[in-house]
Amino acid sequence: MNILVCLKQILDPEMPSRDFRIDPAGCDADRQAAGLVMNIFCANALETALQFREKHGGKITVITVGASSAEEILRKALALRVDSAVLVKNDHSQRLNPWCVARVLAAAVRKLGDFDLVLTGRESGDWGDGQTGGFLAEELGRPCVSMVDEMKLEASKPGLVQLKRQTDQGWEAIEAKTPTVITVTNNEHNVPRIAKTRDVMQAFRQPLTTWSLAELGVEPQSIADDLASTQVVELTIPKKQSHCEFVTGESLEERISKLAQRIVSIVQSA
């Protein structure tokens, strides 16, 4: 099985809110305000792929579309012993929306050859669109299974992959024909592993494929069109959303009593 895992480097979502800034252009966050990390759901997708490879064999390629700094997350993936890594440099000044990213990824997939499974994270911790997987499935003309948290193969069923996906009510077991696109969510079994130090050191010496958008044959006009379809007109930091009324009182007993009364009034009307 050939597996492609699409990764995204994002501004550390655990950064303190107080450090968060909007960049001068006003349409995205200032990426200098904190560190850059691998998006957590992408890490879950990678972990799912690694576990799948351990059980069923195969090759894992990771790919990201981003600035040169995104090399870092590819090195992290290489330290987890993926087979190869591809960096598609976004030479565009603007942040690409999910449709653009999917278009670029699809072009890379066509250039890299066939994959049985293409994995993306469920959504990213920055813009959180949750659309790249869906767009990519359409770009590739493949089916899409979303919210998957487990992947396996049954030897008796060639050409099929067994998936478990989370639903609003619980979960579903799905059998999907390969090739297919899968978006991965987190559960207790795909908590990302940490790399062995030797592999981390090794990862710095491993080769990396770097392509520009032009090398992939992505037409600038198509990117521009897609970009124009959704335009961020404003990005603001919301003011404190509400004014907290602190319960006051002479004694702790009194304060607890007041707190209890407020809770009761809501509980009874609920």
Binding site: D12, E14, P16, R18, D19, V37, I194, A195, T197, R198
Partner: protein, 669 residues
Amino acid sequence: MNGELPTREVFWNVTHVWVMYVLLVPTMLVAGYGIYRRFRMWNRGRPEQRFDQPWVRLQFLFRHAVVQQATWKKRFAGFFHALIFWGMIILTVATTVVFIHQDFGLPIMQGQFYLWFQSLTVDIFGALAIFGVSLAAARRWTRPSTQLVHSWEASWILILMLVILVSGFLLEGWRIAATKDPWGMWSPFGYLIAMASNAWMSVPAMQWAHVVTWWFHMGLVFGFLAWAPYTKLLHPLTAVLNLYTAPLTPIGSSLKRIDFDKEESLGVNALSNFTWKDLLDLDACTECGRCTAVCPANAVGKLLSPRDVILDLRHLSRTQDDFTKPIIDATPALSPEALWACTTCGACVESCPVSIAQMPKIVDMRRHLAMEEAVMPDTMEKALGSLEARGHPYAGTQFSRLDWMKGLNVPQRADIQECDVLLWVGCGGALVERNQRVTRAMAQLLEKAGVNYAVLGREERCTGDPARRMGNEFLFQNLARENIATLQRYQVKTVVTACPHCFNTIRNEYPELGGNFEVLHHSQFLERLVSEGKLSPNAQSEAKVTFHDPCYLGRQNKIFDAPRQLVQISVRPPSVEMEKSREKSFCCGGGGGMSFVDEPANQRVNQERARQVLETGADVVAVGCPFCMTMLEDGVNAVRAADPSTRPTQVLDVAELLWDSVRNEPTTV
């Protein structure tokens, strides 16, 4: 015989003495082989330089091998050990005298020397040795404790020593009685036996008993000599070697640097990964159990036992010929669960009378788990992940490194031309709400004293201490190099920090990575400011204070007095000491990455220490470390929640106490 030169015949009524000389050969061969085997074992370790500074080493050896400084820390054991030790030394010297007198033909065993040394001194020390062995036996057999290893070997050693010593006295007594030795009185205990024998034994009976006992005594001594190198009685040799080659640096700098350009194995999972000194450590162990007795993890019922780490490694070194076999998890004491329980407090290392480095070996094995296998407790993994991504271990904190300065005028290094002192805030001091108050007190004290200081602000990273103690040496070195570069870029000479972990790392671990800075713990620096008159505290508070020594300040860097003096100038009543203080201080439970671990509810080191704090009846427990602060606060709260009758005790940093007294707002009780 009066008027003659006092002496005695060496063999007197024993004949065929040549048999003894013949037997000496196999004895020496067996004993020699025993020792050779050990040497060969140590040789299988990797190289390590431990023979520099011979003069310092000899002084250290004198203090620990002759004076036995460390052994005496346990009074009773120190006492009987000294009796046996000196008894054996004197008896060995006496035997050497006989040897020189008889076999080298140098007549030294005569005259005043014979009377005062060979007779009186030897007799007294022999008797004291019997007393010492009896005490040891009494402890071992009547007061079973988990500290001791209850082995047949240990008991046999005591029995054998007792029989050899007693039979020696019998021989002396019978000889004195049968030869009517005119100088017999010079051997008082032998003389007592002589008088007793005279009462009910004929001279021929005594001669016969003497011959039989002599051969028996000789046989036992030879057997004992041959056997000793195969038992813990090898320790007179190994202890001396181990003490001579002991680390000369503080415990705080006892972790080995890994050279990632060369290193083949990261950390230790095989005996062959240890250095020869580590392997010598194993053979030096006398099984005294002090390390386990002082281990905080062991005290709260965790699996870790530093003694068993050493003894199990020794067992493996003697039973498995293949030194490349995995050792982690080979026994329960070497299981990851045990290894991850270590707070790296260094109490085991401090307690060891023969300078065995238990904690560094535990960290060595953690290194293997963290770097080669990448498996560790989840919570440690999270802390390390955060260190890697954000340069601090507090995943999910909503604080930035600048938040604590809100409302204060704190100079940041990047904004000013130069400064005398760099205040190293540390992750705990910047990102943990409770410790931000300490940092604020510290900044205000520096401002008040007119110190030209600055902080690095966002440019500060974790020093790497938790990464290193959790076994990720690679991450440690990356963080350390980044910090060293920042400090060098700003030409920093003096660093002051309120975190003993940062203090220890910058002081002891940065130099080998090329970073040489003068580092002071804030208690040292503040004490200096007070003594220079730059701060004038008014000790008006009536709080009774006890000081909790941070392991990485006290035991590991031997700084005990500065923080105590600070306490004393900040409050009125004299402070009280906990039973376990200074070198013997009991860890708060937060070192070695353990403050990021969620311990089982009934196995929390911090609560044990909190109970010790509460026993003193102090109003305030003063600390000098951000980890101690949170661990003890949680501990005191938990103990008080379980028993609301407990006295309320505040946890305050020494800087907070000082600030209260400097700004004339005495710490309230």
